[in-house]
């Protein structure tokens, strides 16, 4: 069907498709800052730098009781406890961000991480977007490839006319 459209229109259609796919794929990676401001705990921090690390960590973890709220955005009691735990690990235990992550993951599993680790159970999750992009590029390539002109022999043309019932030509 598309071969009857002019080449420029075909390019435009392909571009539109590419944009749409990009929008659909991109929709999965919503930025954390769209969450509403959650409850504020009266925690004291010895330094603004430590507080900044605390804020970015509680934005990063998912509340185990909620299905899609991070620790900073939830007022569930368990989220409050875990915010306190993150603060304690940072301030009293002096843990690095990585150690805090490992601590929570060891107890609550991959669920608390919004970025699941790459492992046998999750490779489909990680590789599917790239696979879709590849499939898209393949389709794009095929759509844009110039088509060879079809040359018909005289006998073929005669047969076409015959099939079309156009016998007087």
């Amino acid at each position: 069907m598309s071969d009857r459209r002019p080449a420029r229109l075909r390019v435009l259609t392909a571009l539109l498709w590419a944009l749409t796919s990009a929008a659909v794929l991109g929709g999965g990676f919503g930025p954390a800052d769209v969450w509403a401001d959650g409850p504020v705990d009266a925690f004291e921090f010895p330094s603004p730098e430590l507080e900044a690390r605390y804020r970015s960590l509680i934005d990063e973890f998912r509340c185990p009781k909620c299905l899609n709220t991070n620790l900073s955005g939830s007022d569930a009691p368990i989220a409050k406890d875990l915010r306190g735990t993150v603060r304690r690990l940072l301030v009293e235990e002096g843990m690095s961000d990585r150690e805090v992550r490992d601590y929570l993951q060891a107890r609550y599993g991959d669920f608390v991480l919004y970025d699941p680790p790459f492992k046998p159970g999750t490779w489909v999750l990680w590789l599917a977007p790239a696979a879709f992009v590849l499939i898209g590029l393949l389709v794009l390539f095929r759509m844009l490839r110039p088509r060879a002109a079809v040359s018909l022999s005289a006998a073929d043309q005669a047969r076409i006319r015959e099939l079309l019932g156009n016998t007087d030509a």
């Binding site: 185990p64 009781k65 299905l67 009691p77 368990i78 406890d81 875990l82 735990t85 993951q105 060891a106 107890r107 609550y108 599993g109 991959d110 669920f111």
Partner: protein, 182 residues
Amino acid sequence: MSRASLFVPLGLFAVILVLGYLGFRLDDPHRLPSALLNKPFPEFSATVLGSPERTVTRADLVGAPVLVNVWATWCPTCKAEHEELMRIDRESGLRIVGVNYKDDPMKAMRWLVDFGDPYEFVLEDSDGSLGVELGVYGAPESFLLDAAGTIVYKRVGEINPRIWRDEILPVVSRLELASTHE
């Protein structure tokens, strides 16, 4: 284009259908897979409900299989579960240890007087810190430990007669069988 390739969209649609079915099954999405399964029960130190002078550690949980049950008086499901715990304690001889999670000790002791006490002892976890060590995110939750203190089974939600018969009892029997073969 070959004729077979016309069926590619149908194939894709079937794949999406299957993925959708798998992704939207009527599983409870609130149930987290336990990160602690087949791992040793964490080290801890806690006081015993009703006898604050007595401190209990991980060493008090090893030696024989034990069911560690996280409960609280504010948790209605714990009330529903309590009767079954009483029955298990009466009929099975399995050790049951309680963790009183984020609760008022007075209310907790009152509860055990009113509804019966299936626990060998109950650990006090008023601030929920032992709960965090255990990856607890609600109550009730229960852990079954083998004699070495490894978590061999975890249940989020209440233990009822069906869960006991189908999920916990088989594991307990296996543990007991393993210990007689040693």
